[in-house]
Symmetry: none
Subunit: 217 residues, 4 copies
Amino acid sequence: MTESSAGPAPGARVLRRDAAENRERLVHAAWEVFAELGPDAGVEDIARRAGVGMGTLYRRFPTKEALVLALHEGLLDEMLAHTRETAADDPMGRGLEEFLWDMGAVMSSHHGCLSRLWRSAPPATGERRKELWDLVGRLLRQAQRAGEVRDDLTLTDVYLCVLSLRGLIEDTATQAPNAWRRHLSVALAGFAPASRPLDHRPVDDSLVEAGVPAWNR
Amino acid sequence: MTESSAGPAPGARVLRRDAAENRERLVHAAWEVFAELGPDAGVEDIARRAGVGMGTLYRRFPTKEALVLALHEGLLDEMLAHTRETAADDPMGRGLEEFLWDMGAVMSSHHGCLSRLWRSAPPATGERRKELWDLVGRLLRQAQRAGEVRDDLTLTDVYLCVLSLRGLIEDTATQAPNAWRRHLSVALAGFAPASRPLDHRPVDDSLVEAGVPAWNR
Amino acid sequence: MTESSAGPAPGARVLRRDAAENRERLVHAAWEVFAELGPDAGVEDIARRAGVGMGTLYRRFPTKEALVLALHEGLLDEMLAHTRETAADDPMGRGLEEFLWDMGAVMSSHHGCLSRLWRSAPPATGERRKELWDLVGRLLRQAQRAGEVRDDLTLTDVYLCVLSLRGLIEDTATQAPNAWRRHLSVALAGFAPASRPLDHRPVDDSLVEAGVPAWNR
Amino acid sequence: MTESSAGPAPGARVLRRDAAENRERLVHAAWEVFAELGPDAGVEDIARRAGVGMGTLYRRFPTKEALVLALHEGLLDEMLAHTRETAADDPMGRGLEEFLWDMGAVMSSHHGCLSRLWRSAPPATGERRKELWDLVGRLLRQAQRAGEVRDDLTLTDVYLCVLSLRGLIEDTATQAPNAWRRHLSVALAGFAPASRPLDHRPVDDSLVEAGVPAWNR
DNA sequence: GATGAATGAGAGTTCATTCAT
DNA sequence: TATGAATGAACTCTCATTCAT
């Protein structure tokens, strides 16, 4: 309203500052609420946690799905940022491994609704998604060139490894937040051209008996 | 009536033949419906698929949760049967690997609602669950004695491997039903005292772009 | 089937002895179950208590309502038996009072579902109902002639007294099984000729014939 | 409405005007629907009658039971208001009689679901319930001092009288709306000092505090 | 004739979404 | 614009009644 000069890129609507704040609050609240209440948490809880009314939530996100998508995009952004940085400077071919540790860390810091997020590629994320895996493809080739990983390893093998970490993190995050690191160690050993020692200490055996939390669908 | 020798398990009420049939139908329908519609599928769909009324479903299972629990137990039974057989004859220490391939196959044949099932151990399954992992512990020690897997491998590592397969299967079963085999190959390579070639052919790269189905929470 | 000779009154179907036993068991069980579980008790509980299957219940009573009606009739029979006896020998005009104590006792021994029973006169009970209140009318006139109760007392006043006992018994039977006796004492004191004039004009006698509305459980 | 001095009771959340209106409508509709359809009337009928959706009903009352409780409290409020007024000015000891006529009138104007309401004291009403019967106790003593009622009359006798009116009103309200007045006249005649001695010993006063059993609809 | 499993309409309740304030 | 009350379809579960065994 007040400012009409110095407009932003046309097409991308500008949000007034308070509106942008609300958006941010909602996204933050959504992560928290999903993490606490599980993937079936209701929108009302999210709005309350964000300290806004339902109307505000639905003004910012036309649909619950859209809010979840926003979380998805935030996650993808974070992953992409890490990966770009890694790919920008990978002289020794160690970048692939770094990438995997980063992905685990990012997902681990957002556990609780990963399952709700990682759905079939939403339109809006297509390009960044492609960029992400292109970068990973480069990292893979560099790693193979450097002899860090076996030659018959494919990009999909790396993807499957990330997917397997996702499920593992969802199942174990509350009880053993570092369990995924152990499994990644095993997988990296499997990636290596020759066997090597594991990088992480064993996880306590009591986990076997505990199972996963009830809402972990 | 005539033969009292091989009666049903004591304590387990005997069902009339038609009732038993309906129970079986319901369990079967539940697997199907959960697989198709996801873990939030409604009881009405399950009853319709089974060709019975709502009341029949609720006569057989006092709660939706009880039905899900029955699926859980069925899965556990299947896993346990395989594992017992494997553990009964494992002279060469290859049983651990066989176990993992079996677990993958069993979960794969019930994909679609694994996430809903694999909850923190329900009371009734406690003993069998314990037996299962005790057997796996034996398989692990035998494998280590035979030099098939590295010495620093723990039971939890095996458990994490199964969990990681679970998530992977849920995410990929409809699009690439064998993707989990590739990942298990990697993990087994990581288990080996020394690197070795992978056992399964690569999965098509198009999977990377496809993502996972919408209801896969 | 087997016996066709020595038939009973035509029109009234004869029940084989075991069938009659089942009928009796069901009625008895119904009283008990209603008393324990309240007027919304289910038919399944009644059948189980009676030790028969659902089919037997529905063979004996085409409807839950019919079973309730049978209880109703039993109650009416009991009341009528008492009243006939009282009316048959009432030289001193004390029969009216005796009648009221009897009604209280009968209802008290069947508390728990009185409300469900005492509905607007079901067809089958019309005649006996009429007989009952005709007898009470005689008792009332004899009591007035003997100077036991005030002259302005009407049959409906007596009916209202019974109705008020019914509600009271339902409300207090479990906690203070004799509370109704105290209230009846008060009402009888009010019936006495010596007591103060009544503040309200008599209610039309047609109420006695009408019964109470159907949903008045 | 313009004055802000007499705000709402602290602790009781303030409702937006439209919300408050809907709440009122729902309570009103509930009285009507219960009166017409009986105590087993469904929530849908109530919502429809109130002209609101199901969600609105459940936003205002978390449970059907809560709605019924609100009716209960409204009734208690009304009774208490009458009784306070009566007790505030009772020089001649006629207040007890006035109280009983008032109770009858209040219950009569809400007939149809009294049975569902008058359950064993819900927690929230405990204090007001106590206040009500404390006031009645005072009225009783004043009436006795003034020689208006017999000396052996107890508070529970008054309570039983109210209970008996409750049942009577439920049974006769639609057919003979004033029938309860006639019965009350009789009871009041029985309360009078001049009337004949009561035949039954007093009932323990604890009954007054206990209320009626829950399923006693 | 007796049994109890099967039925399905309808109950109370929830929740993503809309809209009056 | 922000609010939170209103909406109503859909959910899980119940129970009087029917019917195959």
